[in-house]
Symmetry: C2
């Protein structure tokens, strides 16, 4: 499948590389066509990856992974234009972290809304699915790294078919189907986004980002 | 030990009853001396429990459990007066849920502060420890109900001795010591309080409140 990965940081590189390992073709999107990290990504995946602007990538991709930093996500998507997003699945794995008030970061949108919802509201003809934002990117694409892969990932979105496709993609990453928790419509993205502060504090207390949570009952 | 339990709802009743089972003596505090639920609580624990105003209960207790609803916690504690709180441990298990905007609730304090911090700031000579707010009350006092007791509880507070005492109390409830995660000072209470929205969404998606999270790594 042709997939757009927006963002050239560690998260975009990790997601993009996994998608290529799985046989997909990836275009990495960034602000410019000459982004150095995007060029490195293309070089290391010879022939399986290209790079371009956010708009180029979204025009190319049937599915779009938003791996930009939360603070820049809306600007990146607005630069794309509706016509390259309409009808497509946007897998939003970003977190609206605001580092301007010091560490640990606060959330720039919170409580009565979420970044996932704001993206859906801004691009009503796209199908936004919030997922994977609750963990370190190494675990997103390789859940079996810890606890035999037995831990949870969440999913929020308005479109049932889009969520089904995202679930299949998550399963291809190694996620156990019963550990993928569909929380409901896109407003439920407030939950996983507001989980970030406790994630950051657990990370701070344990000095180890390679953890996740497992729901036990 | 003499312990104050503020609040006459299910949480206060559950915590108070467990404390009595463990041999403590409990005074349940509420707005009035004639609260019906408090009277029932006293009647069912003949001789081991008394009831009074929030101030009466705090004057009695060496340790104070705040089991009031988050929206009413500050008013309840302000009615107590500093002299009945100074130097004492306040175990704050409340959540600042705001139901005024409909269901699910939002948080009345969030992101750049937390209810735990606000209580600590308002009563600087008390020792506030935030804990237990991340689960259904049945699990707070009986963690072994699920997964053989192997799941996590968090703790935030400025005073190391107070946290040590709270840890002992949690262990007496059945918590495994290594599963009690000390997140740090009271500002870290933002994490467990902002966890509530995902708790509510998991509850909504699974229709079962008898769950908790276990950190896996």
């Amino acid at each position: 499948m042709n997939i757009a990965v927006l963002g050239t940081g560690t998260v975009g590189d990790t997601i993009g590389s996994k998608l290529i390992d799985l046989g997909h073709t990836v275009m990495m999107g960034s602000r410019t066509t000459t982004n150095e990290k995007a060029q490195k990504f293309v070089a290391k995946h010879n022939g399986k990856a290209t790079a371009g602007t956010f708009a180029d990538a979204c025009a190319f991709g049937e599915i779009i992974f938003n791996c930009t930093s939360g603070g820049g996500s809306m600007e990146a998507l607005k630069s794309v234009g509706d016509n390259n997003l309409n009808g497509k699945i946007i897998i939003d794995i970003s977190n609206p972290l605001d580092f301007s008030k010091g560490m640990p970061p606060t959330l720039s949108v919170v409580n009565t809304t979420s970044l996932g919802e704001e993206i859906q509201r801004t691009f009503p003809a796209a199908k936004v699915v919030k997922t994977l934002n609750t963990m370190w990117c190494g675990l997103m694409v390789n859940p079996v790294l810890i606890n035999g892969g037995d831990h949870n990932v969440f999913m929020s979105g308005n479109d049932a078919d889009a969520k089904q496709q995202v679930k299949e993609l998550l399963k291809s990453f190694g996620w156990i189907e019963t550990n993928i928790v569909d929380l409901g419509d896109i407003t439920t993205a407030r939950g996983p986004e507001m989980y970030l502060p406790i994630w950051l504090r657990i990370y701070g207390a344990t000095n180890n980002g390679a953890f996740n949570i497992k729901i036990v009952k």
